[in-house]
Amino acid sequence: MAEPFLIGEAMTGGYGGADILHGCTIAVEPGEIAVIVGPNGAGKSTAMKAIFGMLRLRKGRVRLAGEDITGLTPQARVLRGMGFVPQTSNIFTSMTVEENLEMGAFIRRDDFQDTMAQVYELFPILKDKRSQPAGELSGGQRQQVAVGRALMTQPKVLMLDEPTAGVSPIVMDELFDRIIEVARSGISILMVEQNARQALEIADKGYVLVQGANRFTDTGAALLADPEVRRSFLGG
């Protein structure tokens, strides 16, 4: 089997104390949506942070396009083409929408007007509100700003930590639609989700984590069809 585009392989580690991840493996291919689901405390967000370099791994490697990036800082990973949208505090609340996007493009030295236009095309509401402080927007709009900010570096992989936390079902559906659109443009999406059923519906690949280890790995549709997955993790 060919090497996946981004892979966190057999990751073991935690935040200094006891290990949270136990040999967990997560991978994503270009243009694919991979979703990590699982019960509370399964280490979903931790796995995501490990791939992004926000915690130290005791064992295991992270590779991007065949290159070992295990030792790189998050900032260096951004330069390598990874974008990350944290779960909370993911926008600059006192700055305007447009300034948020500019800050997203901070590491770019070239002209990023095209990227900004693409983001506005993807999230038209942001264009209307571009001179408003981002902190004044609604929850769903803030998430759009957050995703837009991460897209400004033109990443090859976009990592989203529970992008639909605290938004209404309608807004959630719209966000998922946008995420599919992003994936269609060839960007890999790696996403942690609480709303497991809806997320698996759009997922090309699903990872069910339990206690920091892979329990089930399959396509989203297959996981949704698996009776055991349904019973244990999707509420029947």
Partner: protein, 338 residues
């Protein structure tokens, strides 16, 4: 006529001095608020940074006048100001490198940094006094023209009995402060580096994720702080006089200004500066002269109508500070504290 005479008296003794003092406080408070917003601690060394910057500027001024350079009717110190800023910037950058950076790395609690800033204050105070000719002397370095309008000229011009004097230093204070503030806001709102500073202040983690280099942000902040502190100190020194230890006492009104406006909020710092300055001047001014003009003769006051002696001007800053802490700890403009 009586009303105009009263108004002129008011302008002469309350409004103009208050505005000049307010501008000086605002510049000082801006420096404090920038450090707070970016480095997240209250910098107790700020008063002595101002003193150091002023002393450095005075030395350069002396050098210039020694060479026969002057700035016409304006004080030579204005010419020396950029050099003073550069020297001060070098000092605070070195201080950051040798002292503060370590505590950033270990993510020390803000209160530890406050204490460290106290140590820095000691050292800066000593360095200021080491400058040749500075020591603990009372120095008046305002050369050039004394007045833009003198009392007598004004009376002759207007025919009023009361005179209005606008000192050069007061006018310079307002003009320089306005330019400095405009530059600062242009920098923060329009330039990439300035925006990155605001982003860093707003959400440090996300700023790091966006690839903003924290050390660069911090360095730029210190340079701005040095510029603001030196400018504030020089303006205050031109307007009053310079003594190495009086600047420490400005800490209280400066902090009060910054807290009133909301720590970490630059607009608030400016508003706070003027609130504190005008309160101080209003409360400690003897209103008899103004009221004698404004009130009917029967009501003319016998006493000075001075709410508090001038020695209690600290009490005014303090009272306002306490009221703000009690009722709105985040300040008028909602700083980023709490």
């Amino acid at each position: 006529m009586d009303f105009l005479n009263g108004l002129v008296t008011f302008l002469n003794f309350v409004f103009i001095p208050g505005a000049a003092y307010g501008a000086q406080l605002a510049l000082g408070a801006l420096g404090v608020t920038l450090v707070y917003g970016i480095l997240r601690f209250s910098n107790f060394a700020h008063g002595d940074t101002m003193a150091f910057g002023t002393a450095a500027t005075i030395l350069v001024t002396w050098g210039l006048t020694g060479l026969g350079v002057s700035f016409g009717s304006l004080p030579t110190a204005l010419l020396a100001l950029p050099a003073g800023i550069a020297i001060t910037a070098a000092l605070v950058l070195a201080t950051d490198r040798m002292v503060y950076r370590f505590y950033r790395r270990v993510k020390a609690a803000p209160v530890v940094l406050v204490m460290v800033s106290m140590g820095v204050m000691f050292v800066m105070n000593a360095l200021t006094r080491f400058f040749p000719g500075i020591g603990v002397n009372d120095i008046n370095f305002a050369d050039g023209g004394r007045f833009i309008i003198g009392v007598r000229e004004f009376r002759e011009m207007t025919g009023l009995q009361e005179g209005l004097a606008i000192r050069t230093t007061q006018a310079i204070t307002l003009v320089v402060a306005a330019v400095a503030v405009a530059l600062l806001f242009w920098f923060l709102n329009r330039t990439r580096t300035g925006k990155s500073m605001r982003a860093f202040s707003d959400n440090e983690d996300l700023a790091l994720l966006s690839g903003i280099n924290p050390e660069r942000v911090v360095a730029v902040t210190w340079i701005l702080v040095a510029a603001l502190a030196t400018t504030a100190g020089v303006l205050y020194g031109l307007d009053k006089s310079f003594k190495a230890f009086t600047y420490f006492q400005l800490l209280l009104p400066i902090f009060a200004s910054a807290v009133v406006g909301g720590l970490g909020n630059p607009l608030g710092a400016i508003a706070g500066g003027f609130v504190i300055a005008f309160s101080e001047v209003t409360v400690t001014y003897a209103w008899k002269r103004v009221l004698t003009w404004w009130l009917p003769e029967r009501w003319a006051p016998d006493s000075l109508v001075q709410l508090l002696g001038t020695d209690y001007k600290f009490a005014v800053s303090f009272a306002i500070l306490v009221i703000v802490l009690l009722f709105r700890p985040t300040g008028i403009f909602r700083g980023k504290s709490l």
